[in-house]
Structure formats: C-alpha cells, structure tokens
C-alpha cells in the first residue's frame, strides 16, 4: 500500500495516510491547507486515484 501511495500526488497520499490513521476531517483539512468544504471531493479523488494507481504498471524506466 505504501509503495502505491508514494506514486500518488503528495496531497492525496497524505490524505489517505491521515484517513487511515483515523484523524478527524477538520484536522485533515487544516493539515492539507484546504477548505473543509473541499474535503469530500478530495477524498473521493484520493480513493479513485489510489484504485487507478493499483491497476497501473510502474514506469518501466524506473527499475520496475
């Protein structure tokens, strides 16, 4: 999982780590420096990008 997270844009990776750790949404929003109203869509995108990254192959030129 961590290796896949590393391949995401940093904000989404951080969100997923904080969510996994059970951090409250308000705190996550503050940590990510986003408006709280933006968190639902950010969460949806984060999970979508994680699912996509799991399906994608690593870049061939980076040792995979």
């Amino acid at each position: 999982m961590d290796e896949t997270l590393e391949r995401l844009p940093p904000t989404y990776a951080t969100f997923l780590r904080l969510e996994r750790a059970g951090v409250a949404a308000k705190v996550i929003a503050a940590q990510l420096e986003v408006e709280p109203e933006a968190l639902p869509l950010l969460a949806e995108l984060a999970h979508a990008k994680l699912a996509q990254a799991r399906d994608d192959c690593p870049r061939p030129s980076q040792g995979g």
Binding site: P9, T11, A38, L41, A48, P60
Partner: protein, 889 residues
C-alpha cells in the same frame, strides 16, 4: 491515468500544446457532477499553474459533446471595476446602475442561452469578478438554470465573501486541484518533449516544478531554448546545469507575493537565501506577525522536525525568483545577517557549520580555509557536489597549499570526469604527515588512474609504493588492490587477496573487504555466498558514522542486488534495484546511479522487457559518457548491443559494438563476457551462427580461466541454445553446484536439449517462466515444441508452440534460435537456414555469397528451395515464417 504514448527518439521539437495528463479521475468526477441535476456547479480552486482553467475547458468540451450549450467568461482586474464586466459579451446592454430588476433581466438572458439542457458556464478567475457578476452567478445557481464551473486561486489575496458564498450557499461543490504526482510530471514532460527522459532529469524536473504543470512547461521550454535540455542517446537529459526559473514565471511568483508587508517580504528574501531556517530563527529576525502573514498566504512550508521546526518557502521556484530579484548587495547583506545569527545561536549542528561557511563565503568574510574545507566535506557527504566544489575553490584561493582541500578537489574532479586534472593534483601532493594520509592519496590516485585514465599498471604501482611507505596501512591498500583486480575481471585473485587481509578492525577496511568479497563471490559463481557477504556489508555500513567519508558506503546494495539477480530471485532483485535506483538519484554520485541503471537493464533483459532494458542501458551510457569513464561505458554499450541483437535490430547492435570497440583497450574486464555475449548474438542475428558459436566458446573459456563462473554459466547456456551441448551440459551441471537456482535451471535445460527430451524441456520452460526469465522460457518452450514434433506428439508440440508464442508476445520482438525453429513446419537444411537467416538479416545475395565463400548462384538456389519449403516468396514472409525479427529500418 492516460496511456503513455511516448517513444524515445521522437522529434526534438517541444509540442505547442501539451496534453492533459493525470486528470482522468478529476474529469470523471466533473462529468458525474455535471450529470447531477441537483448540483448547481463546482468551484475549482488551487494554486496558480495547477491547471484549473485547462480542466475547466476540458469539461466544457465534454459538456458540449453531451449536448449542453456552453459559454466561458474570464474575469480580470480590468473588468472588475465594471458591473457585469466579465459578462459583457453574453448579456444585452443594461442601462443604469445594477438593480434587482437588472439582475433579474441578466439572469433571464443567461438562462435563455440554455435550451432543453442547462447552459454550462465556465467562469475563469472568479475571485476577480465584480460584485454584480457574483450576484448574477449566485442567482442563476440558486435557480439551477445554469451549471457554473468557477475557477479561483487558493492562497492569494483573501477571496471576497461574495465568491465564498458561491460554494457555501448554493450547493456548489469545491474541488482543490492538486499538483501532479512525480510519475505524472514525468509523463507530462515526456509528452511535451515527444521523448523519454532519463531518470536524473525526471527527478530534476519534479523537484523544480513540484508537479505544477505551468511551472513544468515553462521550465522545460526555457531549458530547451537555452540548450540545457537536450537529447543524448535518445533520452532527454539535463546537461549538468541547474534548472533555472524561467523569467515568465517570475511574474507568476511576484503575483503570489503581491501585497505582503515589508517585514514579510524581507522574510521571504531571508528564506530565499537560507533555503531553510529554523522557525525560531525566522521569528527572531522578522517577528511573529510577518511569519504568520506568510503562513496565512500559503507561502511557507513548516516541517515538524522535533525542536527546530525547519521553515522553507512553499515552492523551490519562489526562492529562485526572489534570489534573482534581490540583487547581489542585498543577497550579501542577508547572508551576513544569517551568518551572524547562526554564530550567535552557537551553530553546533553539522548543517549549521555548512550553512555558516556558505554564508561567510557569499559575504567574502573568511580568511580561514579550515571551516570551508570542513563544510565542503559535509556538502560532499550529503551529495551536494556543486556546493562542495564552490567551497573548495574558495578554500584553495585562501590556502593554495592546503592538502586536504587539494585531495577533496581531486576526488570531485575524478567523479566529474576530469581525470587528468585529478592526476595532476595527486602527482603534485607534497610530503604527507602519516601513513593514513599516504594510503588515502594512493587509493584515490589509483582509482583515478584505473577507472579514469585506464592505467592499470600505474594504479597497482601506486598502491604497492604506498604499502612500502606505510606498511601499517597494508590492509587498506590490499583491499583496494583487490577491488581493482575484481574490476579487471579476476574474481579468484580478488578473493585470494582479501583472504590475506588481517586488519579488519578498521571499519573502512572491513566494509571495503565485505563489499569486494560479495561482488567477487557472485562473479565467481557463488551468489549465495555473495548475498551473505553483501548482507554483512550492509551491517558494517549501517554502523559507520553518518558523515564518515567512505566511497564504499554507497555500495553494499549493489552486490546484494547482483547476487539476487544471479541467483534468479527476480522479484527480490527488482525490489532491490528499484529502491536502490531511486535512492541513488537523491544523493549518490553519478557513477553509482549508472551502476543501478546497468543492473536495471540486466534485470529487464532477463525478464524480456527489452525496451525497458534498452532505456536503462542508454541512461547508464549517458552518465558514463559524461563522467568520461570509457571502461564502464563499455558495459552499458554491451548491454545495448545485446538488447538490440535480441530484438533483431542489427543496426543498433552493430553501432553499439562499434562504439564499444572505439573506446580502445581498457583494464576494466569485469563485463568483458557481456560484450562477447552481445557480439555473439549480434552475429547470430545476422545469420552467422558459426561465428556466434566461436565467440561464445572463446568467451566461456576465458571466463573459466579467470574464475568468472557466473558469466561462464551464461555463456555455456547460450552455446547450448545454439545446439552445442557436448561438454557444455556437464560443465553447466558442475557450475550449478554453487551457482544457485538459476544456474541449476540452465544446467537442466542444457541436459534436456542434449537428450532432445520434450517433457524435460517443457519442465525447464515452466521453471524459467516461474522465475520470470521470459527469454529463456520462450526459448525452452520453442525447443520443446520441436522435440515433441520429432517425437510424433503433435498435441504437445502445439501446446508448447502456443506457450512459446505467448512468451514471445510478452517480449517485444524477441528472436532466439529455438523460436526460429518453432516456426519451421518443414525441415530446412542447415545451409538453407543459414542463408535465409542472413537474408532476413538484411544482406544481399551477393553479400551472403561472399561471407559464406560460395557462388551467388548457389545462394539464389538455396533461397529458392527454402522459400519453396516454407511456402513464401520474399524475405519478409520468410522471416515471419521462421519467427526471425526483421532488422529495424
């Protein structure tokens, strides 16, 4: 993620329009939002350059395709003073000051632009709208007559309450558009450039842009125009220069900082010079209010690093732009302030000493070379080679005869390809204070002589002389001699030398001995022992002080990965190579990066990922060319040649071998077997099977003589694949005893070939496939098919033929002897096969006749008969029928 369509070596022009990359999920989300009739719109927020407008325009296109009427307005500071200014082209002329009636009329006019479906309206830079326009949007969104997609910047001037109300009051969702990931940034740059990046350049672009598409594009365009970004060996690469911020971005950055108080602006200048500063130090200099202001504006990044809480500007480009803006006098003043403050705080940490030296250097207020040299060592240990060079240059101006700075300069010269300059420094070193210094100079000089100048005798002589002058350092000097002996291709001698070293109490010597042992054991065909030694080397490395300078501290992971590869544990090898390569990009010297590229290429060849292998070998070749280390360049060129030969790309294979030969005689023969292997397969691909066999025999005998049994095993296996099994299968079985699982597989395969046993060949094929050795698996399946054909078992033959084709399909353009046989439905004679292979390889009939020493008429007749047997009429079809890859044209 969008499919990557880049191919290395596409044109050298930068694309006028860059594609939308890394936004598939955002677009899917936006489409679903648009389709939801309950939603009134969406606010796309984000920093400048993240691609909000581009995303909005893409959604507009999607909406239009779905049958929605669409419009777009762009707010600006100019139109912000005019009621409904941004809507001017969409609304009828409205008389007088805005009133409720005017608003109602405007709302009606806008809604009327829709029809059966809602109007989709993009509002760019909504934060710049005048109040009347915001009120209009508020109304149409409340009434759900228009779906509005508004873009607005995050982190700049506070957004007006009216714009905030757009998403808080009217069921509009808010999406913060984020920068791209590292992979996406590379993908975008490659799409824009029309070609692949080398790994170092990809990393550099990621670090400079931090995934901001606008920054990335501008950086690439500027670097390309300046010639700093160019194509080498088919890869886009930065030629060593730092990526400077493009002037067009200066405006973007200045806009970010518009309206800052004087104290906050000064704080940005301090951070631009310092790069990173403790929070307490920043507050001490500029006050809590200024720091809070910067944090509110999103211009700071504050890490939680225990007590110190390091602070830096939010984006590295901000610092670059500010540094360029403030001028030399101000930069010097800031550096003096920072140096005085660090002195005042005590400055005990290593990074403080480094920073202090840098600032004093910038100010020009230092007369003592000592701190500069210490700072240079710190910079070198951290991988900041350019900074180390600058500090040393300064130190040597102050103290030209300082030996320490001279030696560090020579080391940097060597690592940057300036070998003659390094030798000049070494030869000029005067008397040295003790044995440790004698040994240090001798080792550095010997490495430069061997790897840089190709003088093996000179290198060994230097080490011998030092042993006589400093017998107490014999252990260290012998360990280095062993290292050179290994690289000269004598692993047996290497192990004898290290076995005779008593002095392992010195941690540096112990580490070097273990790394050398690990490498030599694996090269000698004992990869399990090599792996054990590599693990021990890791422990020794981890026990070293973090900044202790030891050129082998970067090394233990390399022989470990090599051992895993030799054992045939490709999964563990892939993990080791992937992480090693990534780590090397951050802090390790470039020659270490090149080693990882080479191992990545070796793994990819094993797995049949030939395009990946070629890219990795090219990267290594680019680095070695820059480092001017032709001995190690030969290694990467051999890899390129082999990969090309396996794909049937004779032109590339021959060109790579020609370039390899042009490097001349070199002492580095550790990878000579790979070069001979490449030569052999290039000959085979050109139809010269007998020549290929002769080359492999000679190479295998040489490898055996030198004790390079791992290479011997590979070369003998290649011979078996060319039907040379007498004496080969038995020798492979003997080598398998210590050679590990993959060596054992090779022996089983060779024994099965000797027996012509289809069942055993099938077992070998499946075992190779399980190990991820796709090239071998394809070959073994192909041979099993032929064996079952000969045994009169067409069903089994068909199964293995199918399996061979499946494996081959996974490997782009693979050509092997067994695959060629697999496709033969009728028996060609050896001569017919030889002639057909040469013609498929691109030779004319006359050239084939000359090569084989037969008449052209005979070649014509042989081809005619072979074509008849195969049921084809030209060489392209013959190639397909025999499963031979045609040369790339």
């Amino acid at each position: 993620m969008m499919a990557r369509t880049c191919r290395p070596g596409w044109g050298h022009a930068v694309a006028a329009t860059w594609p939308l990359v890394g936004r598939d999920e955002e677009l899917r989300l936006l489409r679903s939002q648009l389709a939801d009739a309950e939603l009134t719109g969406l606010v796309l927020a984000g920093a400048a350059g993240t691609g909000k407008s581009r995303l909005a325009r893409e959604l507009l296109r999607v909406a239009a395709e779905a049958g929605h009427p669409t419009e777009r307005i762009v707010a600006s500071r100019a139109s912000a003073t005019i009621p409904f200014g941004a809507f001017a082209h969409l609304l009828p002329a409205l008389e007088g000051a805005p009133t409720a009636a005017t608003l109602r009329a405007a709302s009606g006019a806008l809604a009327a632009r829709g029809g059966a479906r809602r109007l989709v309206l993009v509002v760019d830079d909504a934060h710049l709208l005048d109040d009347a326009s915001v009120a209009l949007l508020h109304l149409v969104m409340l009434e759900r007559t228009v779906f509005t997609l508004a873009t607005t910047r995050s982190g700049d001037d506070p957004v007006s309450d009216a714009v905030v109300a757009l998403w808080k009051d009217v069921d509009a969702a808010r999406l913060e558009v984020q920068p791209l990931s590292r992979d996406e940034t590379t993908e975008l740059a490659e799409a824009g450039l029309g070609g692949a990046l080398d790994a170092g350049t990809a990393r550099g672009l990621w670090q400079a842009s931090r995934g901001n598409p606008l920054y990335l594009r501008e950086i690439v365009m500027t670097a390309r125009s300046a010639g700093a970004l160019r194509v080498e060996r088919g890869l886009w690469t930065i030629g060593g220069e730092a990526l400077a911020p493009p002037t067009s971005l200066a405006d973007v950055v200045e806009l970010r900082m518009r309206g800052l108080s004087a104290a906050a602006l000064e704080a940005t200048e301090v951070l631009a010079v310092a790069d990173v500063l403790g929070l307490a130090a920043l507050v001490d200099l500029h006050g809590r209010d200024a720091v809070a202001e910067l944090e509110r504006r999103g211009l700071l990044q504050i890490d939680d690093d225990g007590r110190r809480r390091p602070v830096r500007l939010e984006h590295p480009l901000h610092g670059e732009v500010v540094r360029q803006r403030i001028g030399r006098a101000r930069l010097t003043g800031v550096a003096r302030t920072l140096a005085d403050q660090t002195d005042g705080f005590g400055g005990r940490r290593r990074e403080d000493a480094l920073q202090l030296a840098v600032w004093r250097m910038q100010v020009g207020e230092t007369t003592d070379a000592g701190p500069l040299v210490m700072a240079a060592r710190e910079a070198y240990a951290r991988g900041s080679y350019e900074l180390a060079s600058r500090l040393l240059g300064f130190a040597r101006r102050i103290a030209p005869d300082d030996t320490e700075s001279a030696l560090l300069s020579a080391q940097l010269d060597h690592e940057h390809g300036r070998h003659a300059e390094a030798e000049f420094i070494y030869a000029d070193v005067g008397s040295l204070p003790d044995g440790a210094a004698v040994a240090r100079v001798a080792v550095q000089r010997a490495v430069n002589l061997f790897f840089g100048l190709g003088d093996e005798d000179g290198a060994l002589a230097v080490l011998r002389e030092a042993s006589e002058a400093a017998p107490e350092r014999a252990g260290e000097l012998t360990a280095n001699q062993a290292w050179l002996r290994l690289n000269a291709g004598w692993p047996g001698d290497t192990l004898e030398l290290v076995a005779g070293i008593d002095d392992r109490g010195d941690p540096d010597v112990a580490l070097m001995v273990e790394v050398t042992t690990a490498w030599a054991q694996t090269t000698a065909g004992r990869p399990a022992a090599g792996l054990a030694a590599a693990e021990h080397a890791r422990q020794l490395r981890d026990a070293l002080a973090p900044t202790r300078l030891n050129r082998f501290r970067d090394f233990p992971e390399l022989p470990r990965a090599l051992a895993l590869l030799t054992l045939g544990d490709h999964i563990a090898a892939a993990e080791a190579i992937g992480s090693g390569r990534a780590a090397a990009l951050d802090t390790h010297p470039r020659f270490v990066q090149a080693w990882w590229s080479f191992l990545a290429g070796q793994l990819a060849v094993r797995r049949g990922q030939l395009a990946t292998a070629a890219a990795a070998f090219r990267e290594g070749a680019v680095i070695q060319s820059r480092l001017r280390q032709p001995g190690l360049l030969r290694r990467d060129l051999a890899g390129l040649a082999l990969t090309a030969a396996l794909r049937g790309d004779l032109a590339t294979a021959r060109a790579s071998l020609a370039e390899l030969d042009a490097t001349g005689a070199r002492p580095e023969r550790l990878h000579a077997p790979l070069a001979e292997q490449a030569r052999a397969w290039t000959a085979w691909a050109g139809g010269a099977t007998e020549e290929a066999i002769a080359l492999l025999r000679t190479a295998a005998a040489d490898a055996r003589m030198r004790g390079s049994h791992a290479a011997e095993s590979e070369l003998l296996h290649d011979l078996a694949r060319l039907d040379v099994v007498n004496g080969v299968a038995d020798r492979l079985a003997a080598l398998a005893a210590d050679g590990g699982p993959l060596a054992a597989l090779r022996a089983q395969h060779a024994a099965a070939i000797r027996q012509g046993d289809g069942r055993r060949l099938g077992h070998a094929a499946r075992a190779f496939a399980d190990a991820g050795a796709r090239v071998m698996a394809a070959d073994a399946h192909g041979r099993a098919a032929v064996a079952f054909d000969a045994a009169g078992d067409p069903r089994a033959a068909r199964l293995h033929r199918h399996a061979a084709q499946e494996e081959r399909d996974r490997v782009d353009g693979l050509s092997t002897p067994a695959l060629a046989r697999t496709h033969e439905r009728v028996a060609l004679t050896a001569r017919e096969r030889e002639v057909v292979a040469r013609t498929v390889g691109g030779l004319t009939n006359r050239e084939i006749a000359e090569q084989l020493g037969i008449a052209k008429r005979t070649v014509d007749n042989l081809l005619h008969r072979a074509y008849g047997k195969l049921g084809v009429s030209d060489r392209d079809a013959a190639g397909r029928a025999l499963g031979l890859s045609l040369p790339h044209r």
